[in-house]
């Protein structure tokens, strides 16, 4: 086979490969659907939910297309972010937390706990299979967007609670992973 024909074959093979990665990315991006449907069912904020869902879809798609740690971070982020989201489905049914004249809705503690669980999960993943900075960045962004679909409609307090819980659980895990020699 002549050089030019071989070069053309190489280009065609590369195009096929990239196309297959696009198809893979689009399939994985459908992971954005369950959180979106859940948020649409529970909260009456369709505009915000659709915007966050579009962001989530694009982020997952890009991460999976890129592959490697980014793709792994995307999957981990969706799983982690789904924990606070699921928690918030239960929160309205848990009533209020009252103590000595002070009362607050369960949404803030639930978001905090959800964020902590999400951060803990990512920390565990990072220790078990050490991830790079790319893994953490992608997992953090995607996890936050997923969790935000549930926490943002509940207000600033709930969102801040989620972020605090995530940081408290994730930071030690990240430090441990780095001490382990990778990250």
């Amino acid at each position: 086979m002549e050089r030019s024909e071989l070069a053309q074959l190489r280009r065609r093979a590369r195009t096929r490969y990239e196309r297959s990665r696009v198809r893979l990315a689009l399939t994985h991006a459908l992971l954005a659907l369950p959180p979106m449907l859940l948020a649409l069912l529970v909260w009456s904020r369709p505009g915000l939910t659709l915007v966050l869902s579009a962001l989530l879809f694009a982020a997952i798609g890009l991460a999976v297309f890129r592959g490697r740690d980014a793709a792994r971070g995307a999957t981990a982020g969706v799983i982690a972010g789904s924990v606070p989201l699921l928690g918030l489905v239960l929160a309205p049914h848990l009533g209020h937390l009252c103590s000595g004249g002070f009362c607050m809705s369960m949404c803030v503690p639930v978001c905090f706990a959800g964020g902590a669980l999400a951060g803990g999960y990512l920390a565990w993943r990072s220790i078990k299979t050490p991830g790079s900075a790319v893994f953490w960045a992608v997992a953090g962004v995607i996890g936050s967007v997923t969790a935000a679909m549930g926490c943002i409609p509940m207000g600033l307090g709930a969102t801040a609670g989620m972020a605090a819980g995530f940081a408290i659980a994730a930071v030690p895990g990240l430090a441990l992973a780095r001490l382990g020699g990778r990250g």
Binding site: R10, A13, Y17, G67, A70
Partner: protein, 179 residues
Amino acid sequence: MRPMEREWLSEQMARLADGDRAAFDPLFDRLWPVLTRFAIRLLGDEASGEDAAQQALLNIFARAHEYESGRDALSWALGITHWECRTRRRQRQRNREDCMPAPPERLDLSTDPEREAVARDLEQALHAAVGQLGDTDRDVLLADLRGETVCARPATVRKRRQRAVERLRAAWKVIHGTK
């Protein structure tokens, strides 16, 4: 292929499946000659072998994301190539069957020599009648018989044809004395 090379191939394929684009070129360069030799040996000729190897290589890279780490990449790639060669062999067989000459028509044993003689006589009679016509009439009738298009308006062609047939009938009557 040596075991170390096979291991290297599997590692590169796993990296490519994971999304590491840097593994693409080394894999392509290593796989192409292996698949070509394999396909040529299976199909028996260089041109078909190269075609099959090309298609197999394209399929391998289109399915690279399906490759499971831990599998032997060479076996996987050769499996895809083998399937491609088998498809081409089947196609070749089907083409050979389609191109086989049609069986000879059965002889029409009911041909009647008398009928043949009558047909020959009619043909001669027609030639004699047509020979009496002018050039224009002859050309119109021949063009009609051959299904040729005449460069004239349809109404004009119809009229010319009608006149030619009338004159042919008249000539036939004169020569043969029958309608």
